[in-house]
Amino acid sequence: MKSKIFATLLVLALLTALSFGAIKVALCAPFTGLGSILGDYIKKGAKLAVEEINSTGGVLGEQIELTVYDTAANPSTAMNVVRRALFSDKVVAVFGPNMSSAVLGVHQLAQQAKTPMLVGATSPSFRFTKVHNPFLFRLRADDDVKVSQLVKYAVDVLGIKKPGVIYGSTDYCLAALDVAKREFGARGIEIVDAEQIKEGEKDATGQLLKLKNAGFDGLIGLTHEPEAAVVVKQLRQLEIDVPIIGFSAWGVPAFTDLAGDAAIGVYSVQGFNPNDSELAVRSFVAHYKSKWGEEPSDPAQAYYDGIYLLAKAIEIANSTDGEKLAEVLSNQLEMYGVQGMLKCDEHHNFTSICYISQFDGESWTIIDKLH
């Protein structure tokens, strides 16, 4: 009996020693709720990077220990889990949340805990120049960059001179509309008509007929996925033949699955495209497929890059101290990842990479890769 108690205590002591040695990192993403499919990609991207790093000896001789928390795509749940990760579990860094509204609600907790928070959310509203949080970093191109590139492509390549816009009613869509107005205006082009389709609406006949009567020669889509599907289906139904170029929600499987054949020919600005022939992308896609048996989708690559960024920052700082890590991430770190050269800019964005792609019925063909 005594030997059994002794053995149990020994195992417990060993486990405690091992966990003290690990670098604890939190991943806060939605696994239930509206954005649950994204949580799956995020977790798989981050776990892949952690396993790769740990299999080569970890960081500073220690293993990375990734703890996953479910934000349920809900800002208040995100607040609870981030608080727990920072103040109870005392992690070295937090990855996520991935929803902009959740980031806006929790980023100050990271500042309070002096712990880096690396997120894949894309709203321009929490750029460093706006929130001044030295501990908050973004791992994907923000929406301002994406809409600017979309407008540039629409005008310079597609030759759209009378753009018509269809937009949703959420902050994601309205912020994109503001950028589109600014960018078209800067090129001396006036949007001939901007029509709203609210989330949940399933008929856009009135909106599309108005755009047609306004004489639009190209459609700029700034909506979420279901409304994007409604719009392209009805454009085909009404036989309105204009180039269609959509925002990031128009370039993901959630849109093409719903739109079916109607999505063929649609252009979109994407944050990631697994068909990129770049070596780093090919390697990431191959490893991801071999590990998880499926192709990665945005934002898996962002969190994969993020884990490597953190590992490199710990190496450079030779420490897991939050303030030192934030300093390294802000000013000293520069590395090549799946998303190209990663370096923190004045907005605390590590990348501005995006792709202009066109859907061919099966996959998205890359037309241009922009930095």
């Binding site: 239930t32 709720g33 509206l34 954005g35 649950s36 499919i37 795509a73 029509e195 709203q196 389709i197 609210k198 949940g200 609406e201 399933k202 008929d203 006949t205 009135g206 909106q207 007929l209 108005k210 047609k212 009567n213 996925e225 279901p226 599907a229 289906k233 085909r236 139904q237 009404l238 036989e239 959630a254 699955d257 719903l258 739109a259 079916g260 054949d261 109607a262």
Partner: protein, 297 residues
């Protein structure tokens, strides 16, 4: 603006409005049968759409089996609503208000159950009613093929409900139970059976609607908590909650108002305008505006 554009807008308004009417039929039926408003009415549409998606797309069963299984389960769910919600509330002295509140909670419960098991992203409905790009075109106007199935089912259900409620003994028993349970029982009506039938038929009607609406609304939470539930209910209110034909006409009117508000006024204020008109209807004609075929008897 060309005439064919106006015609197209009208036809599209009728089409989307008929989907509201279809949901309104379920509301009318339950009110006619047991004088209760089930705020979880629309949940039956969402449940049948997800069940059909699971059986047909995920498990690979055939269309007919998937359809029968989905609608059958939703019918049993109606029975569950009776025994797990309606009866306990009634036994403890609760009335219509308590039932409304309970069903409102059930509606939210189902949305969360679906989120947990299927996630929040809409799923594509299999092309059993035609592909996304299959349209019927006539006289410069076009409509997706699926709407013709909807029109057909709306017509059948309208006629069926009218016939059932007015021309059959079962229908008379249902209405008698709704009006006075005790007297109906004294007159020999099997109240237990008719109440069960009312619950099962109301969820079945909406369940069938769910499978038909999924190509338009996708297999999504929208079918269980989106604006279609409110608009379907509005259509039923325009019919005074008693007239199946009125519910469909009310839904169609709402669809037309929405589309013409967008075309001639503003897409931003589309819902504001539609619901302002509905509020006005309720204020000035609280008993409904499309109550022709049936009378409160």
């Amino acid at each position: 603006m060309e005439t064919k554009d106006i015609l197209q807008n009208l036809v599209s308004g009728i089409a989307i409005g008929s989907t509201y009417g279809l949901i309104g039929l379920g509301v009318v039926f339950l009110w006619q049968s047991i004088e209760r408003i089930n705020f979880a009415n629309i949940s039956s549409a969402m449940l049948s759409a997800y069940l059909f998606y699971t059986f047909y797309s995920e498990i690979g069963m055939g269309f007919f089996i998937s359809f029968v299984l989905s609608v059958g389960i939703v019918a049993l769910y109606g029975l569950g609503l009776r025994y797990l919600i309606h009866e306990p509330i009634t036994k403890r002295g609760g009335g219509r208000l308590e039932f409304v509140v309970a069903t409102l909670m059930i509606c939210v419960l189902w949305l969360n159950v679906i989120i947990v098991f299927y996630g929040g992203l809409p799923k594509p409905f299999p092309p059993v009613f035609g592909k996304a790009t299959d349209f019927v075109r006539f006289a410069g106007v076009s409509l997706p093929v699926v709407y013709f199935y909807i029109f057909l089912v709306v017509a059948i259900l309208m006629a069926f409900l009218h016939f059932l409620l007015r021309k059959t003994l079962v229908g008379k028993s249902l209405r008698a139970t709704a009006q006075n349970k005790e007297v109906a029982q004294l007159m020999g009506v099997n109240v237990n059976l008719t109440t069960s039938l009312a619950f099962m038929l109301s969820t079945t009607v909406v369940g069938i609607a769910g499978i038909l609406l999924a190509p338009i609304y996708f297999v999504s939470l929208e079918l269980g908590g989106g604006s279609i539930g409110i608009k379907g209910f509005s259509a039923a209110v325009m019919a005074g909650l008693i007239d199946p034909y009125g519910a469909v006409v009310g839904g169609i009117l709402l669809g037309i108002i929405e589309n013409f508000s967008t075309l001639f006024i503003s897409s931003t204020y589309r819902d504001v305008i539609s619901f302002l008109i509905l509020v006005a209807v309720l204020i000035f004609k609280p008993k409904g505006i499309f109550v022709w075929s049936l009378h409160r008897d």
